[in-house]
Symmetry: C2
Subunit: 337 residues, 2 copies
DNA sequence: TTGTACGCGTTATCAG
DNA sequence: CTGATAACGCGTACAA
């Protein structure tokens, strides 16, 4: 690998001139420029970005750390980020936590050690909080998408999950449901907690009381949704069904709908279903009804995250910012006769 | 941001000792170590990876440049890469070309300018060749997955697409097909060309001649598959169908199967279908038959790519390596009565 | 065990 | 227009 110095030597000029040519700056005679250009060609010279970053104290890189890259759920977020990045003078690199907290934390450190000017972190897990609090004292620019972390002043793009629950319950009540159950998502994820709490509150605001037996525990897997509903039916029978199941996640809802199908319970005639996340169904074998769900504006959240982070990096906004998005109710077949 | 020098000053020792503590090296008294550690804490010191890379001439980073991150097709490749990386002492970062050659090329340059020790490039497009030839003169370590580039000596993990066509045709012939048509994938992609050429050759080897009207042009989209088959039927009627359609991609095949369904043509009774790629079906609305297809070992290819690249980086293997994988035929409902 | 001094490849300042 | 020279933050011979 030849360096700027090698080019200067071969061209018979100083490093200063070479640097100017590389960066397209004024102050180089045509003759020198020519010599430099041909020297660069001859040596197959490539500027070293690392050295450049060191002296400039700037990488022009924004890092993105996701829980897992292999997850279609993140596609909209990624696309939103990419779209905003294109309009900026930054480059993005992506790192995957592969569903491991340690790895995620490692990559955040990795990027914050000077390898990026700022980091976008998708944080949904409750256990992210410790990591984020640590990072927030380092005054390295970063922004957390999805998770709201209490007690720390950070850049944050969040979605009001409880509001989503409110929309779901109000919709179900409006179409005549009275006895509405909730099947949770993964309760180590903050969003799941907020959705459940939002469910309870929305039920109360509509004049219903929620007993603990009205909340079925599951996680984000299709299987858990299937098992939760199946166990419920086996315990209570098919004549003790609620008017509706409100699931904490679409994946879980898909599983639940399969269980209902196995017991020949008709959707939406016998029971209404609402999910959360606006996922594409995974299972081609079953012809599931199209699911009424709540959609998070992940694309917009990605865009905003980039913009907010860049303005933080450049100290355009001295204060940390927080942006709240609202989920949108998408009514489909599972709540429509 | 405090530097190693700040820590040394606060601890009242030299930079050398601080450096040793950071890197866990011997040769520091317990007393000094303590002072240094507490100084690091007090200053909230984080080592600067950029400076470190500069002096060490090593980043311990492997970059991966994909055509597009938002594409489930790459999941297996990514997982394979990640798996091998975990067992190494490298970190991975991912960059997305967002389906743009320029962007892809930009990110390859970006990484090769000292920001990574080596790059894994997924290259499927024919137009990648120019870019790859350029890179190959720079002696920067890299490996190309999928595309075979003629005339240059590079690290390469490829899959024998023509062999896949051979498997497909032999399978179809074996179950009684004589009149086998081909619907191409995106012909700007080298794999599509190889699959078509493999189809022609395999047909000839089985004693059939291929006329140009037996090859329908499409790309990788579901729509193109649908349109290609629909146009064919509208032109030739439903009584002039071939025994089988061999598609250059599963996505295309899904589209084609939908078109056949629209004309009430039964699969596999009336016509057999073989695809390529072993994709998951996208469309939940249709209850498509499970598709016989060819599976590429992308996971293994990802693993191998990492290993080969690392041994290139460390000059373990002086020569460039080339690894050839074979697709595997997965027989499902569309060729089974 | 400790510290000094130099170099990694760049950019920027300031004379000439 | 040109060229020394000093940084950027770190690792490492080498010397003490």
């Amino acid at each position: 690998m030849s360096s700027l110095y090698d080019v200067a030597e071969l061209a018979g000029v100083s490093k200063t001139l070479v640097s100017r040519v590389i960066n397209g700056q004024k102050g180089v005679s045509d003759k020198s420029k020519e010599k430099i250009l041909s020297a660069m060609k001859e040596l197959n010279y490539t500027p070293n970005a690392i050295a450049r970053s060191l002296v400039l104290q700037k990488t022009h890189i924004i890092g993105v750390v996701l829980d897992n890259l292999c997850e279609p759920y993140f596609f909209d977020l990624i696309k939103g980020i990419e779209h905003s990045i294109t309009k900026s003078d930054y480059d993005v690199i992506f790192c995957s936590g592969r569903n491991s907290m340690e790895l995620k934390s490692k990559y955040i450190k990795f990027l914050s050690q000077g390898r990026a000017d700022g980091v976008i972190i998708y944080g949904s897990s409750l256990s992210d909080e410790k990591l984020i609090k640590e990072l927030s004292v380092s005054n390295f620019p970063f922004i957390v998408v999805e998770n709201e972390v209490e007690g720390v002043n950070i850049n944050n793009v969040v979605v009001d999950n409880a509001f989503g629950s409110k929309l779901a319950i109000e919709h179900l009540v409006e179409i005549g449901c009275r006895n509405i159950y909730h099947v949770t998502g993964d309760m180590t994820i903050k969003a799941s907690v907020d959705r459940r709490d939002g469910y309870i509150k929305a039920m109360q605001n509509n004049g219903f009381t929620v007993n603990s037996n009205m909340i079925l525990m599951a996680d984000f897997s299709v299987e858990s949704g299937y098992e939760a509903v199946k166990a419920f039916i086996e315990k209570n029978g098919t004549d003790q069904l609620p008017d509706a199941f409100y699931f904490g996640a679409d994946t879980t809802a898909f599983g639940g709908m399969m269980a209902l199908e196995d017991y020949s319970i008709r959707i939406p005639e016998d029971i209404k279903i609402v999910g959360f996340d606006n996922d594409k169904p995974h299972d081609i074998d079953r012809k599931l009804k199209k699911l009424t769900t709540l959609s998070q504006p992940l694309y917009k959240m990605g865009e905003s995250a980039v913009n907010m982070l860049i303005s933080d990096i450049n100290h355009i906004t001295p204060e940390k910012q927080k942006l709240l998005y609202y989920p949108e109710l998408i009514i489909r077949e599972t709540t429509r006769e």
